[in-house]
Symmetry: C2
Subunit: 219 residues, 2 copies
Amino acid sequence: MEFAECFPIWPRLTPAEQKSLSGSVVCQTVKKGAILQNQNEECTGLLLVRSGQLRAYIVSDEGREITVYRLLDMDLCLFSASCMLRSVLFELTIEAEKDTEFWLIPAEVYKRLMEQSAPLANYTNEIMAARFSEVMWLMEQILWQSFDKRLAAFLLEEMSLEKTGALKTTHERIANHLGTAREVVTRMLRYFQSEGLVRLSRGMIEIADEAGVRALCGG
Amino acid sequence: MEFAECFPIWPRLTPAEQKSLSGSVVCQTVKKGAILQNQNEECTGLLLVRSGQLRAYIVSDEGREITVYRLLDMDLCLFSASCMLRSVLFELTIEAEKDTEFWLIPAEVYKRLMEQSAPLANYTNEIMAARFSEVMWLMEQILWQSFDKRLAAFLLEEMSLEKTGALKTTHERIANHLGTAREVVTRMLRYFQSEGLVRLSRGMIEIADEAGVRALCGG
């Protein structure tokens, strides 16, 4: 797959714009666990995921984390190039959750093209609106959803991403996704186990009753 | 003040675009308390505030509210025209907190102009990024700030908006701004009173020790 095939707005760019973009993108590969953009770092550039999985999260002063969104194949990460937009006043960290291959688009190239291309600026608008919607959804969850439902929804999402009901993860890691403390996750998982929804072992959570977990989310 | 003076991107539009915009905007006035956009309603259009104050908030299934951001003089509200952007999947309600005069820009006119005008699309991007930053700030507050600090910051913001230390408001109303229950607000205000920070009377909260309230926020 070439960059042009993965970049949805490609056919709506002029030949000169296409040339400028394809001449500046670089394909890179990172290992699972790599940090691609740190909250305090400079502007990495835009990331277009070719294959793999990235996690965008925020970190509190005390080091607590919460996952804001994830990026899968063909997703574009704008906020690793937040220097591009004056009004972006928050800091995300981007981490590879799996070995990931991506195209890096330099922020200054993208910004210059966006300033002259209405299609590219409108595409960027739609990407931002989509991320905005994810953040609003997350905020509603945090405010108004009980933790058992949030944890159940997270387990189902993980199952779907990993394509297995036996999740290799830690309580600490789940806490960092959901913006809570490890103890809160452990307590709720033990309750899930006592209800027959999951089976817990070291470094592993197995979904024992998928329908039950689904019912918990939906209820 | 004319529309052209309040719309910052005006000089960067073509004469044809300016004509199309000025021919379609309507100046409207609403009373304090009016709902300009309801979560379930159709696309009202973009609102450019000439004078007054609007509040954008979300409502839970159980009727709980939280203020997401406010719009003051010269602010543009995009999300009252969310039909304009396919990727906007959340519903805001917009309420006038003061008597408000605004220009209403029909969504379809704005959308058509934005599709052809890179300056307008980039301006829209910056507005969205600014609102996105406000929402991220709010999420961090909800996740990681204790309620006493959030309430203290809210009282100072109100003081600044109302230009008085004697706030005419109810505990219910504050709860709706901060996404919590009335009882939680009442309990914390009584604690503030016992610490000499505020004086409470019916329908009124008076800041008694502004420096103390500020210290609480900053700490």
